[in-house]
């Protein structure tokens, strides 16, 4: 693995520009500071790279959603760790061809929803204090994030542990052809610093799960929890792991018309509309729990402000723990629900 010094974000832009100019990729998916705001875009003209903000700490949705079923042309993508994990998970589910992607991912110290503020420099502890003063919230998912460093990707950018600037690490040195980067080293204190942040976030996560468990411990609270859901399907559509071409809830069995609703109502005398809210959520839970990357995109896009992430934090930890699996960290690894061991779960008699 080669490790190099990037003095600043500009140096990273040079890497992107170089890939485009040399034709290694046909486009770069990256955040861009446009006139109306900062948004993710696909750039094909290398001259536009100067307008990009690859490390802007903004997250409005998980962009892995837009990489599903990618085609045959090469593209580089600059993504957050939770997006990179979703890409890896989708690769294992045969929904993304990573051979056609150059995934570039940097340490992430948290993001904000662009609705709450437009910031283009990556967050640091000092910057976070400033935001707090201005009452700009860090996304909830980020405050409880355990995997904020790059998983398996093509190019990792490390910020944590460095004294200014970044360290670029890659196994694919050919992607740097023509650039003269100074060799660098992964800072020795990095691991300790990463672990420190992880521990803090983990504590917050545990508290979150505890609170939820307390709430759900009493009767009927799950119904109560989802009572505002209008089945708009945003959480499903914007979840990178919910990838089915045909969702059960769009088949005649799941997309109930009045005849079926009357049938369901008849067993209890009453049926709430839209029907099957709990069934919908639980189905998503079953389908997604083993792969959820805890990005919080679902909660971000819920128009009824249902704290969906709390549920995912609780379920994902349990389910992935059960199979000793952490989703999206690697590209080649058996999926928990595809593989099995003959001698396991022997409590079933």
């Amino acid at each position: 693995m080669g490790t190099y010094i990037l003095e600043n974000e500009e140096a990273l832009k040079k890497v992107l520009e170089n890939m485009l100019r040399k034709g290694m990729v046909e486009g770069v998916m990256v955040q861009t500071a446009g006139e109306s705001g900062v948004f993710t875009s696909i750039i094909t003209d290398p001259d536009f790279i100067s307008k990009t903000a690859p490390l802007a700490p903004l997250f409005s949705n998980n962009n892995a959603v837009f990489l599903q079923n990618n085609g045959t042309r090469n593209i580089a993508v600059v993504v957050k760790p939770c997006e990179a994990r979703a890409i890896n998970e989708l690769k294992k589910l045969n929904q993304i061809n990573t051979d056609k992607l150059v995934v570039i991912c940097a340490d992430c110290q948290g993001t904000i929803n662009p609705r709450d503020g437009l910031i283009t420099e990556p967050l640091t502890e000092a910057k976070k204090k400033e935001l707090e003063k201005d009452s700009i919230p860090i996304r909830k998912a980020c405050t409880v994030c355990e995997h904020f460093t790059p998983p398996e990707v093509d190019i990792s950018i490390m910020a944590i542990g460095t004294t200014g600037g970044y360290i670029l690490a890659t196994d694919r040195e050919e992607l740097l052809d023509g650039l003269e980067l100074k060799a660098g080293e992964i800072p020795s204190g990095r691991n300790a610093e990463v672990e420190k942040i992880r521990k803090e976030n983990l504590e917050k996560k545990e508290k979150m799960v505890e609170e939820l468990d307390k709430k759900l411990g009493s009767p009927d609270t799950l119904v109560e929890f989802f009572k505002d859901c209008i089945r708009c399907d945003n959480c499903r559509d914007m979840c990178p792991i919910c990838y089915c071409k045909q969702c059960y809830f769009e088949t005649p069995l799941g997309d109930l018309r009045t005849d079926e609703m009357l049938h369901q109502a008849a067993t209890k005398g009453i049926l709430r509309i839209p029907p099957d809210i709990l069934f919908y959520q639980l189905t998503r839970n079953i389908h997604v729990a083993a792969g959820c990357v805890e990005c919080g995109a679902c909660e971000e896009v819920c128009p009824r402000d249902i704290p969906l992430l709390d549920v995912w934090k609780s379920i994902t930890g349990n389910v992935q723990g059960l199979f000793e699996y952490v989703s999206g960290m690697k590209r080649d690894e058996p999926l928990p629900l595809v593989g099995f061991k003959e001698s396991e779960l022997e409590e079933v008699k």
């Binding site: 759900l216 069934f279 079953i286 379920i315 079933v348």
Partner: protein, 147 residues
């Protein structure tokens, strides 16, 4: 996890069983033809393999008012599709994990292996499971009108 509703004297639990065609359904059949007594609480739905049981079937059964759900297939190593029961075991363990979270007592769900020659075991499994569900009382968590 608490479950509401104590069992009334006259109340009989409704148990839905998903049984694989080749082993467990045949086992249940054997119990019948051998005149082995077993509770009438169970309604069996035949599936070709326990691997066919989608966790949604189980949730749906609870939603429609089942008090307990039993899934049964061939013993490990005996599945007629080689590995269907191993997949079922993983999938349904995941679902069981979620059940707790919904407030439905996970012991309202059970998986068991019953072969075509185990009529006696079938009767025992159903009897024990019925006793357990009777103690738990009616399931109302997923069967309410508001969910």
């Amino acid at each position: 996890m608490e479950d509401e509703g104590g069992a009334k004297e006259s109340w009989e639990p409704k148990i839905i069983g998903f049984f694989c065609n080749w082993c467990s359904y045949a086992g249940a059949d054997l119990a019948g033809t051998s005149r082995i007594q077993y509770p009438t609480t169970i309604r069996i739905i035949k599936v070709m393999c326990s691997g066919r049981v989608n966790p949604q079937f189980v949730l749906k059964a609870f939603q429609e008012g089942a008090d307990g759900v039993l899934v049964s297939g061939c013993h490990p190593g005996d599945c007629h599709y080689i590995e269907g029961n191993y997949h079922a075991r993983r999938k349904l363990t995941l679902m069981e994990d979620l059940l707790e979270f919904t407030g439905v007592d996970p012991s309202r769900f059970q998986m068991s292996w019953v072969s075509a020659s185990e009529g006696q075991k079938f009767a025992e499994v159903v009897t024990e499971f019925t006793e357990r569900i009777k103690k738990l009382g009616p399931q109302t968590k997923l069967s309410g009108g508001e969910g």
